[in-house]
Symmetry: C2
């Protein structure tokens, strides 16, 4: 039997990553577009359609038939209807978009789910979580997402809303989050929150930091660069980040006792020592019995995990039809 | 075939509840003992042995053969060895006790697990969670425990340490918990923590509260009694309790998206309106998509849930032997 292929799309707040992926996870073609967040949901929908069209035409030209379309989106995505049900504060206006309708004109099966859940599925099938039974995958980027694997299966919850690690509160009297809640992990530890913390500390210090010159254009790479040069403020920002993240993750570990945490997203790509320090701090905070044999590993599929997971989700969900 | 029976034991920080339970969950005999926490682990072990002996002899006298012993204990309990692996701050010295050895002399199969996990199992088989697929049970008493049901099965985690809701932090810069962590839900919202809060507010108010007369002997019943009489401090304490609990539970709801929360323990027994208010607050804090159709129900098996779950756990775990 010939391997089936699907188009997988990973809609992020900054980029749309996509590719044609085989049943066994081989990526045949891939494309990345900037997400036109500022132009609103209609423009994002148009970009998604254009991208799908491009990749499907490209595939056909190479003799690869596209079986279906899988898409991961921030927020909760209702499996049956394809509707985004809410909880995507990083793409304003995105709630209530119907992802099945978005791709209707291609006359292909469309399967949609939460982006971090699909990243977890990809890591389970082909990446760092392969062969493991109880795993939580998390991503730290514009937002903080999570995907939960229970007894070797992706767990989406009673209504496909599970895994929202970024919107667990680590301080009931703390910072406000874009989602409306107080003290969400995302409000403290997302990449933008981290860079905000850095800006605030730079100003306080009267610019006595290597980072002073970057002002509002500061990036993660510059922050970790300054850390390697021994900059005190860079160290302080990164230690705070470890405190916040380990707080949310230790909660998750005491609740779910996974054997493995898989980390993805921009932050993880930049630094290798970061995860080791994070693992140590989680083990200090959570129960010894819950962290026995626990490891924190880097996601193996990197930036491709989301769209690979989306394609596999589509191929697995439509297998028997 | 005749129904099998097991002895179920629920070891709590204040009471040991126990009973002889049939496969279908019928309680034939039951006994409650105070837990001799102050006298140390050896005395607790002796009490457990005495109680087991009493109930086994009583059963035999009535022609009921006891198939095995199930016990629920605070902390993580290693299934194979029966060892308490840690995480039971409310029974000092209890870590490392071996629950299988404790009952060795009875020459019966012994199955041990976390107490709140077994309460969840009982509620799943016979109580409020019956017929549901994704449920979290929680208890608020001397400590705060949790038991997670995923896809219709008790989920104990990679090493039987799952469900420790009481030791998820709701404030990374808050109160110290007996477990050594900062900001644990248990440090804010257990019954003793709640009564401590009441004491502090009574003192601050210069005793202008109906509760002033109780001083350090204040009980939950008195607190809710004062609430019904319109006492301002009682209201304040109970509102704070709802804030704390809803913070921890909204985290859990955003992570696991259960369809049902089942509440047990002393606090729930005392007030019926409390759970309605708690449900409303959880729905305000967690994502709408994660709380769709969510209900917070009272545990149906009350104080018996723990030992019934322990007996069922033993009968189910030893079924095929």
């Amino acid at each position: 039997m010939r391997e089936r292929h699907a188009l997988g799309i990973d809609l992020g707040a900054s980029q749309i990553k996509s590719g044609i992926v085989s049943e066994l996870g081989k990526v045949r073609f891939k494309k990345t577009y900037p997400t036109p967040v500022a132009l609103g949901p209609a423009k994002i929908v148009a970009t998604l359609q254009e991208l799908a069209s491009d990749l499907i035409i490209l595939s056909r030209r190479h003799g690869i038939e596209v079986w279906g379309i899988g898409i991961g989106s921030p927020g909760t995505v209702e499996f049956k209807s394809g509707k985004v049900l809410g909880a995507s504060p990083n793409i304003p206006g995105w709630t209530k978009v119907n992802l099945k309708k978005t791709f209707q004109k291609f006359k292909l099966p469309v399967c949609a789910a939460n982006d971090a859940n699909l990243m977890a599925l990809a890591e389970l099938r082909l990446g760092a979580a392969k062969g493991h039974r109880n795993v939580v995958c998390f991503t730290v980027g514009t937002g903080i997402g999570g995907g939960i694997i229970i007894e070797g299966k992706l767990y989406q919850g009673a209504y496909h809303a599970a895994g929202e690690l970024g919107h667990t509160s680590i301080n009931f009297s703390g910072k406000s989050c874009r989602c409306g809640r107080i003290g969400c992990l995302e409000a403290y530890a997302s990449v933008p929150a981290m860079l905000d913390t850095a800006q605030a500390l730079i100003s306080e210090s009267g610019n006595r930091s290597l980072l002073g010159k970057y002002k509002s254009s500061l990036t993660l790479t510059q922050l970790f660069g300054a850390l390697r040069l021994g900059d005190r403020i860079a160290r302080q920002v990164i230690n705070l980040e470890i405190e916040y993240l380990s707080s949310g993750l230790a909660n998750l570990v005491n609740l779910l006792n996974p054997e493995l945490l898989v980390a993805g997203g921009g932050l993880v790509e930049v630094s290798t020592s970061f995860l080791r320090k994070l693992e140590i701090r989680i083990k200090q905070k959570a129960f010894a019995s819950a962290t026995r044999n626990l490891r924190v590993s880097k996601a193996k599929l990197g930036n491709d995990a989301g769209f690979i997971g989306a394609a596999l989700f589509c191929l697995e969900s439509t297998k028997s039809k």
